[in-house]
């Protein structure tokens, strides 16, 4: 009945401020809460969509990626690689490992996806026994899946902070033993397609979607040139953790080497040189050693947490996880995975694509065109063809490279991490770099 009398809005705002101070900001405390105060979302565009509940990336590091069987890490066990990056990440930000709620490690080739190996690495890094660790295997996306898992635990408030890692030694373990599979596998088309070698799936995609040898070689050249340029400019120096490790030479003599540069990069790559290579998987095929991703060794670790917990600890925010998607695709053309995963993730994030770090090779160019992603935004610092693809590591490695590049560019921007997954899947994640 009474009208709102003339009222000073500053007094109103003051009352609102006092009373809203009685409600907790979104964040962990003794009691689980359904209701919490959060910043008004209708603020300026620059600060919009920032919530204390965001899953944010604090920091990430990676080892250099070594060439499997011949490179600097060929005699290095994966726990050493993993331990190096886990320690480096926490040391860089000055965070005690006790603060970690969980550690998830992506790995493909180790027995049991490296569950024991991960716990060993954990202790090699001097982490306390009170911090748990586990591993996850979603083939090539394992490193990214580890990040999704930790993010999920953060979102469900099981933990506040976690480490998402990935590691692979393809020198010490091959894709070898497929495990115990039913004999019915051979009678089931889709199941049988799962054991098709990756190179053949690549040929399938090239054939079915009309991606020529020339296109693939051009993409490979771009990857190599971008990677070489980035390496020369020292763009990776910040993110790479040098690892000193044992190396056994051809005579069987053991010495110490320090690996601090990605070994897969071939700066002298030319189109002519690529054209000369023979198809590696099919006699008249288009996939060669030059335009495929490499077999590699490496590890990466990313520290992520709920924004409120991260800010309470005074830690920086390097990026914000805005969307994640995993999709299934036909196993025999598993390479198309990103073509489905990227749109799914972008839709979730409500964004158009600005930058993409896309793993694993060749004909992605075709799909980038279909998705409307400008080629210069794909792997500007090189991709798996040049840098290599240590299976379990790659997903986490891509996040580190992506966010460091966005940070280098300075502006607030979004980036996408994506890869195809053997046995027929694709995964993608959208990250936001908040701006300098």
């Amino acid at each position: 009945m009474s009208e709102l009398t003339g009222f000073h809005s500053s007094a109103v705002m003051h009352r609102l401020k006092i009373i809203s101070g009685h409600l907790p900001p979104g964040g962990s405390s003794n009691f689980r809460r359904d209701l919490r105060r959060s910043d008004c979302g209708s603020a300026t565009a620059a600060s919009s969509r920032s919530s204390p509940e965001d899953v944010v990336v604090v920091h990430g590091r990676r080892t250099a990626i070594g060439k499997a069987k011949r490179g600097g890490f060929k005699d290095t066990t994966p726990d050493e690689l993993l331990s190096a990056v886990m320690s480096a990440v926490l040391k860089d930000v000055g965070l005690s490992p006790e603060r970690l709620g969980d550690v998830c490690v992506g790995n493909v080739l180790q027995p049991g996806a490296g569950a024991l190996m991960a716990r060993v690495a954990h202790f090699l890094s001097g982490f306390p026994e009170s911090v748990p660790v586990y591993t996850v295997n979603r083939q090539c996306s394992s490193g990214l899946q580890a990040l999704f898992n930790v993010a999920g635990a953060i979102r469900s408030r099981a933990i506040d902070l976690g480490l998402a890692c990935g590691v692979e030694s393809m020198s010490l373990r091959g894709i070898g033993n497929p495990g115990d599979l039913s004999s019915r596998l051979m009678d089931n088309d889709k199941a049988r397609d799962c054991i098709i070698p990756m190179g053949i799936t690549s040929e399938n995609v090239a054939e079915r979607f009309g991606v020529s040898r020339e296109t693939q070689d051009a993409f490979a050249l771009r990857s190599q040139q971008n990677a070489a340029r980035a390496q020369r400019a020292g763009l990776f120096d910040h993110e790479i953790v040098p690892v000193t490790t044992k190396f056994v030479d051809d005579e069987g003599k053991e010495r110490q080497v320090t690996v601090s540069r990605d070994e897969g990069v071939r700066p002298g790559t030319t189109l002519e040189g690529l054209a000369k290579l023979r198809p590696a998987f099919k006699p008249d095929g288009s996939t060669t050693a030059g335009n495929s991703s490499q077999v590699s060794d490496g590890a990466a670790a990313v520290l992520i947490g709920r924004r409120s917990a991260v800010e309470a600890l005074g830690l920086p925010v390097l990026g914000v996880l805005r969307a994640s998607a995993v999709v299934g695709v036909p196993p025999d053309v598993m390479g198309i995975g990103p073509a489905y995963a990227i749109p799914a993730a972008l839709q979730q994030a409500g964004r158009k694509c600005l930058y993409a770090d896309v793993s694993s090779s060749d004909f992605r160019l075709r799909f980038m065109k279909d998705l409307g992603i400008p080629p210069e935004k794909v792997n500007p610092n090189g991709g798996a063809i040049a840098l290599g693809h240590p299976l379990g590591c790659t997903g986490a490695r891509q996040v580190v490279t992506l966010l460091n590049e966005l940070k280098r560019r300075g502006r607030r921007a979004y980036g996408v991490v994506s890869m195809c997954i053997g046995t027929g899947m694709g995964a993608a994640a959208v990250f936001e770099y908040p701006g300098a």
Partner: protein, 294 residues
């Protein structure tokens, strides 16, 4: 809306459209009578209303109501005259109202420079004093003439949410503040006698035990109620957990020396009962009453 919980079994409800209640006090003279300070728009903006209600067999009836140009945040009945009440408003004013007089307040005192969030009328015999606490971080003590204040007490470093006279010690009151301290004041000496850093968060309410002059409880934004013995303030006698949001107000029962009630932003009112066998308060809520969200 005012709800009267009677014998835990029946609830009598008075609905005040467009007014949100901030304080309820039962008359010391007429047990069936309550006063309610209410505000428009949850007290954030707009006007206020002071309601006087009588409890009947069937419900609550309106005896008198007065409008005020700002929200009203607290009300206290006079201990000397059954018709008189004092209310504190968002405009920093205290008003004295008379149920025998229909429209205008008897007196208005505007000295506080920010919202008056708490008023209390002293109960000890021989004195008739009013204490008011404000978001301007000061406490003022008044006689019923209300002009001017007898003394202004400074010391709190945050907004003041609650000032309550000791029922035992003349001239002594407790205050709870956004600065996290519980302070005990002596009016005659115009000084703060004790400053207890009772909580790490804001303290929205405090009350004295009616049966033990050394015992005070505080209710805080940290969702806990702490019971203090003023003879040993290094730690609380007990800490009562269970509310999931800030404690809005608490009261020691005047009828049962073992009972303490608290209401919270979590939409519950809870009763705590002290066990006979132990000298400290049991860390339990005996009963919780849930108020339905309208």
């Amino acid at each position: 809306m005012v709800s009267l919980y009677v014998t835990m079994m029946t609830v009598k409800v008075f609905r005040s459209p467009a007014r949100h209640g901030y304080a309820v006090e039962v008359s010391p003279y007429i047990p069936s009578r309550v006063a309610c300070a209410a505000s428009q728009y949850y007290g954030i903006a707009g006007c206020g209303t002071l309601l006087v209600l009588d409890q009947t067999e069937t419900g609550l009836t309106l005896v008198r109501s007065w409008e005020w140009s700002d929200g009203l945040f607290d009300v206290a009945w006079s201990e000397a005259n059954e018709h008189i009440l004092v209310a504190g408003g968002g405009d920093g004013s205290l008003q004295l109202w008379d149920t025998a007089n229909h429209s205008a307040p008897l007196r208005v005192a505007k000295e506080h420079t920010q919202e008056v969030y708490t008023v209390d009328w002293s109960q000890t015999r021989g004195e008739s004093l009013i204490v008011s606490g404000s978001w301007d971080q000061t406490v003022k003590v008044w006689d019923p003439a209300l002009s001017p204040s007898l003394t202004t007490l400074r010391g709190h470093e945050g907004v003041i949410y609650s000032t309550i006279w000791s029922p035992h010690i003349p001239g002594c009151f407790a205050s709870a503040s956004g600065d996290g301290t519980l302070r005990i004041w002596d009016v005659k000496g115009a000084a703060c006698r004790l400053a207890i850093p009772a909580h790490k968060a804001e303290i929205l309410s405090c009350d004295w035990c009616k049966y033990d002059q050394n015992v005070v409880a505080t209710g805080s934004v940290d969702c806990t109620v702490c019971v203090w013995d003023l003879r040993n303030i290094r730690q609380p006698v007990n800490q009562l957990l269970g509310h999931t949001y800030a404690i809005r107000r608490l009261k020691f029962s005047p009828f049962d020396k073992t009972v303490l009630a608290s209401c919270s932003y979590d939409f519950t009112v809870s009763y705590c009962q002290r066990e006979w066998m132990v000298s400290s308060w049991q860390k339990q809520r005996v009963r919780t009453l849930r108020e339905n969200l309208r």
